[in-house]
């Protein structure tokens, strides 16, 4: 019962929405009924799916890049206390700067012919911080006595990072990537909105385009696709995290 409770609630809300739209004769451009959204979804499915694919590939590429940069920088901070002091405040600056505010600048730098690069960069900026701070915390999470043993065995700082501190940080990395992936998707969509151009026809562009044409049903259909994609991505990463932790702990 508790498993189907949320589904029941959704069904109830959809029914109320449908009935309200019909009874009050709400105009379709203002608030289309769920049935109208379903029709729009079915009619536009190939376009929407292709758009979702583009947005998802922006997010995934951004996640991969953010992961490499964030983990790399975190390892650098672990190796050098001086660089640690230098890098960490800058990382916080990246975190607190709203992506929408940097978008116009990046779009100029990327050039009109390559708005995709700006989108990926923006999504990278959003996904970077949780992965970086997770990696930094993880690299500090190794048992201090194990670190003493490594020193006793004569391990260098790099060997300690590679053999002890990086493996010890795996649970933190998994968590950081899970959060980072969700943010990369949000970042990709926000960046598409900020770009606004038809050059990269992702889900956000579909929504903008539908909005301009007052096709509110298509707008909501795009939103539904975005929601489903977000939930699927989250579920996939939860599963990945669980599997990763099982592998790490050995049970």
């Amino acid at each position: 019962m508790s498993r189907i409770a949320p589904l029941l609630l959704v069904a109830l809300l959809l029914a109320a929405w449908e009935i309200a739209c019909r009874a009050l004769q709400v105009p379709g451009y203002f608030l289309p009924a769920p049935s109208a959204v379903a029709v729009a979804l079915a009619e536009n499915l190939p376009t929407l799916a292709a758009a979702a694919g583009r947005t998802l590939s922006t997010a995934v590429l951004a996640l991969v890049i953010a992961s490499g940069v964030a983990v790399g920088l975190a390892v650098v901070t672990a190796l050098s206390p001086l660089l640690d002091k230098a890098i960490r405040p800058l990382a916080s600056v990246v975190q607190v700067t709203p992506v929408v505010a940097i978008a116009p600048l990046l779009l100029i730098w990327a050039g009109l012919d390559h708005p995709g690069r700006a989108l990926v960069t923006l999504a990278v900026l959003v996904a970077f911080f949780p992965i970086f701070s997770g990696a930094v915390a993880g690299l500090r999470s190794a048992d201090p006595d194990l670190e003493r043993l490594f020193r006793l065995y004569g391990a260098s700082r790099w060997q300690t990072v590679r053999r002890l501190r990086l493996p010890a940080s795996v649970p933190f990395l998994l968590e950081g990537h899970k959060v980072g992936a969700g943010l990369a998707l949000i970042g990709a969509v926000v960046a598409e909105f900020a770009a606004g151009s038809g050059k990269v026809q992702g889900l956000a562009w579909q929504m903008l385009d539908a909005g301009n044409k007052l096709q509110t049903d298509r707008m909501i259909a795009a939103l539904v696709v975005l929601g489903v994609m977000g939930v699927a991505l989250h579920a996939a990463l939860e599963a990945l995290e669980r599997a990763g932790l099982r592998w790490w702990r050995g049970r």
Partner: protein, 245 residues
């Protein structure tokens, strides 16, 4: 012959002196127990002997090289992502032993502590006592000349810690490393050690020293013997005096 010694060492931390002045030497094949009230710096003394820490004043000398010194902490201190075998092989890996040989020696060390068959298990799959044995195997795998144990059985139940005390003595008998261990359990100190050093309340100095007679490893019923009881009483009295002083 002396394996490790502390000469007039003092250790200062931010909050004041933690240890000393203290002079202590561990002879080859000797088993020395360090007992004292909490905060007296007995674990610090052990870290000085291991070379994990340097004294503020005075000198720590070791005849045993880095590769010949092994430490066992209060917690098993195992890497959760490594199997028991890979945990035990860690010091060999760092010393550049070829993987096949490291593996064989790790398995042999695990067999010595009674864990044959558990080579592939991860720490999360082991009981507290088993994990401690893995930790012990990791310390023994390099055949150290100096073995330092920092309250190694404190977190274990009475039966397990008694069994491990006998195991440590049996392992000691095969290669006779010098052992220094910290404990706050007087019975354990007297049972395992050939010499018990009582430290005073912090900053710790030597309050009293006792030689423990009797064969090592201990024969059956040693805990009930007259000598054992008398020495344990004397150590307890010295400990109480050190706390009150």
């Amino acid at each position: 012959m002396t394996v490790a010694s502390l000469l007039d060492v003092e250790v200062d931390y931010d909050r004041g002196r933690a240890l000393g002045p203290l002079t202590l030497s561990i002879g080859a094949g000797e088993i020395v127990a360090l007992v004292g009230p909490s905060g007296c710096g007995k674990s610090t003394a052990l870290r000085l002997l291991a070379g994990l820490e340097d004294p503020t004043r005075g000198e720590a000398r070791r005849a045993a090289g880095r590769g010949e010194t092994a430490v066992v902490f209060q917690a098993p201190t195992l890497a959760p992502w490594r199997s028991a075998r890979a945990n035990v092989a860690l010091p060999l890996e760092r010393a550049g032993t070829p993987p096949a040989e490291a593996r064989a020696r790790a398995d042999a060390a695990l067999a010595r502590v009674g864990l044959a068959g558990a080579e592939a298990a991860r720490p999360a799959q082991l009981s507290g006592g088993m994990a401690m044995r893995v930790s012990l195997a990791r310390a023994l795998v390099t055949s150290p000349r100096l073995l330092l144990l920092d309250e190694p059985f404190a977190a274990l139940d009475e039966i397990t810690r008694r069994r491990l005390a006998d195991d440590v003595l049996a392992l000691w008998a095969t290669s006779r490393p010098a052992i220094a261990f910290v404990t706050h359990n007087v019975e354990e100190a007297v049972y395992m050690a050939s010499r018990v050093v009582v430290l005073s309340r912090g900053p710790g100095r030597i309050a009293a020293e006792f030689a423990v007679d009797g064969p090592l490893p201990r024969p059956e019923g040693f805990r009930a013997a007259e000598g054992f009881r008398a020495t344990a009483e004397a150590v307890s009295a010295a400990l109480a005096e050190g706390i009150d002083a």
